[in-house]
């Protein structure tokens, strides 16, 4: 049964790969402009002027817009996580390929936990909109701080690793 499914899907391998790559591109780049040119400048201004009411209002607004903007990224990621293993299975790959082993280690050990946390911070318990709607301003502030901590710590790791994983997937160097 499973072998029949695999043989059937093998005919569509290149289309699966197209969907996978499209989703990877959306996942990697969809928030980049909002992050670098809107969110980060406002947060830098806040860190320089932590008591400025106007900066805080802008910080809150930009953070909430960013939370919502991450929905593109967070729609693409499950597609990546479904089509990736499908490509592995349908394409007949095995762990003997060094580039693939390294790529999967980074995906499972770094990207997956970061994205789980990101879903929580942006759309579930950590969503700033939910705190605002409840009028919980203490919780709102804590949630903003937590999200900034998350962005600070994950930015270098995710940017370097995402580029490295793309490099491995495209060049297949070993």
């Amino acid at each position: 049964m499973l072998e029949n499914v695999r043989v059937f899907l093998a005919e569509y391998y290149i289309y699966l790969k197209f969907i996978h790559l499209m989703a990877v591109m959306v996942w990697v780049w969809s928030t980049s402009v909002a992050y670098a040119f809107y969110l980060v400048p406002v947060f830098k201004a806040w860190r320089r002027n932590p008591d400025d009411g106007e900066v805080i209002a802008m910080r809150n607004w930009v953070m909430e817009r960013f939370d919502q903007g991450a929905s593109y990224e967070h729609t693409a990621f499950p597609i990546v996580m479904i089509t990736g293993p499908l490509l592995y299975w349908v394409g007949g790959f095995d762990m003997g390929l060094g580039w693939l082993s390294l790529k999967l280690l980074i995906v499972v050990g770094l990207f997956l936990p970061i994205e789980v946390m990101d879903y929580y911070l942006s759309h579930f318990g950590g969503s700033k909109q939910h705190f605002r709607e409840r009028g919980d301003w203490q919780g709102y502030e804590v949630a903003i701080h937590r999200h900034w901590w998350f962005l600070l710590l994950t930015s270098p790791a995710i940017m370097m690793s995402a580029m490295f994983v793309l490099f491995l997937a495209i060049t297949k160097p070993f």
């Binding site: 980060v40 830098k44 805080i56 209002a57 809150n60 280690l105 203490q138 270098p156």
Partner: protein
């Protein structure tokens, strides 16, 4: 809309440095041992065949920790371009979506 911050942000250069060093060591150890496990246990191929992968991982771990620390310091406006912005006061209406019906 609340425009006051009564909670102090807990980030500091000392904490960033600590996170960068520990994070870099933990992550690169995981990758090194994970790769070793896949090669030697799952695939059954001896790896590494020289000391170079280990030396390269150690050097990269140190470089990454330093680079990540500098990256975070710039991102958090501890140094770099963070102070290079004008703070002109402009009053605007910030559009918020209406509260969802529950």
């Amino acid at each position: 809309m609340n425009t006051k911050s009564n909670v102090l942000f807990s980030g500091s250069p000392k904490l960033y440095l600590k996170w960068c060093i520990i994070g870099s060591i933990v992550f690169h150890s995981y990758v090194l041992f994970g790769y070793w496990f896949i090669k030697n246990v799952i695939v059954g191929v001896p790896w590494p065949e020289s000391y170079w992968p280990i030396i390269a991982t150690i050097l990269w771990t140190a470089f990454f920790a330093r680079m990540a620390y500098r990256w975070i310091m710039r991102l958090d406006a501890q140094y770099g371009r963070g102070k290079g912005w004008e703070m002109e006061s402009i009053t605007v209406k910030l559009p918020y979506e209406k509260a969802r019906k529950t």
